[in-house]
Symmetry: C2
Subunit: 279 residues, 2 copies
Amino acid sequence: MTIKMQKKRVAIQGTRASFHEEAAFKFFGTDIETIECESFKKTCDVLKQKQADYVVMAIENSIAGSLLPNYTLLREYNFPIVGEVYLAIQLHLLALPGVKFEDIKYVTSHPIAIRQCSDFLDDFPQLQVIESSDTAACAKKIREENLIDTVAIANNLAAELYGLEVMERRIESNKKNYTRFLILTNKANETATYNKASLSFQVGNSVGSLAQVLNILSEHNINLSKIQSMPVLGKRNEYNFYVDIEWKNQPDYDAAIRKVLKHTVNFTIMGEYVKNDKV
Amino acid sequence: MTIKMQKKRVAIQGTRASFHEEAAFKFFGTDIETIECESFKKTCDVLKQKQADYVVMAIENSIAGSLLPNYTLLREYNFPIVGEVYLAIQLHLLALPGVKFEDIKYVTSHPIAIRQCSDFLDDFPQLQVIESSDTAACAKKIREENLIDTVAIANNLAAELYGLEVMERRIESNKKNYTRFLILTNKANETATYNKASLSFQVGNSVGSLAQVLNILSEHNINLSKIQSMPVLGKRNEYNFYVDIEWKNQPDYDAAIRKVLKHTVNFTIMGEYVKNDKV
């Protein structure tokens, strides 16, 4: 008797071979079932309805910053964060095999990817740029509609999946750009070996209230890897903080959280997981 | 002899009657010369070439968060921030006079404005949504091309300037959404009465280094109204902080800055100005 393991079902925003699928492969390996969703909200709905086991969700990019609407989704759906992935954003010019550069009329990609290739595109003003919602979808369209006058700006995975050739490699202006993705699921991590957490909380408006919280963290040797304030909508002078922290010794973390709770309100542990910041 | 005062020339991203012009009017009054620019970078170029006296630049939205690429522009061009404006984002459905709701086939606006009206649009699935780069430009197009089957989602100013009627008022889902704009110019504020500053700096990677800076601010009764960490591109574990602070007594500020300087590197005062957080 053979036991057939069910593949992990991972919901992503966008089309297969997008950066979201690349991030999913990096975290889970390639033996997964990718579930394409048209929006970030849809990925959460799919997870809630148990049609997926995990969501991979971009949360910040080193140039564009935090995707705050995704923080809002995290708070609305309350799925625990159980992991993170950092992905270098490497962008290539992809075309059907045999197409020559001088035959190209159109460049298609996501507006952010287009902006990240502005140095390259500035050198070729004759190319007409067409914006689209998804880098991988642009590559897919070239294959499906056999477009011999069009190139897509997308990743290597899209070249492989849709059978396109890399006409120009690494055309992104900033070679050190990366995106951080979170891994969400239905139930919290069972492992006890985590060393990183994402928190959100509010502090009073008095001078020094945030400093107090950071002092407690620092007294317990807890490192801050991200902090971001967000005004609370409709409440003047109230702030929500999103904070990522890292630690070496679990008892330090436990003690710090207990103390921090006395100085904060609406405290939420959005997830505890294993730090993974290799780009 | 009459002295003709030259109008202030204010560069904005986008078309006249956009939220950027509305913010400019709120800060300077309506007797200004608005200079339309196709990008945020262009507004900075225009200021640098002295074709404008000021730039009005969106820097954060209460839902979408900080516009980090604009922080990058601030650092590249190094223009001092000399003021701030908060603007409530109120979105209306605009049409040519006489057009009836049942005649509408298309809704045009900026993608972010469209998303902010999703509750309204969900009720009318028969309307086809068309994304465009600028709310005001959509209104302008309806007037110029006499589009009787199309409405724009835009502000009141666009209705007035382009002679459109408000068909539905305040269709934004979140009534408390606002955007904060910065006022930039060529030379720093001369006034000595400022009570707010925008700073950027880096701290060492040791645990507690940010807490140390916040403690100094708190000891001098300086309030933090924004904090945001950004990883330094290509430098592992180094962070840049963007911080806005407010104070009541100038000597407090002076003393705090002097002390903070000992605990930070790459410290920049991006601007000192008068706090203005009325939405």
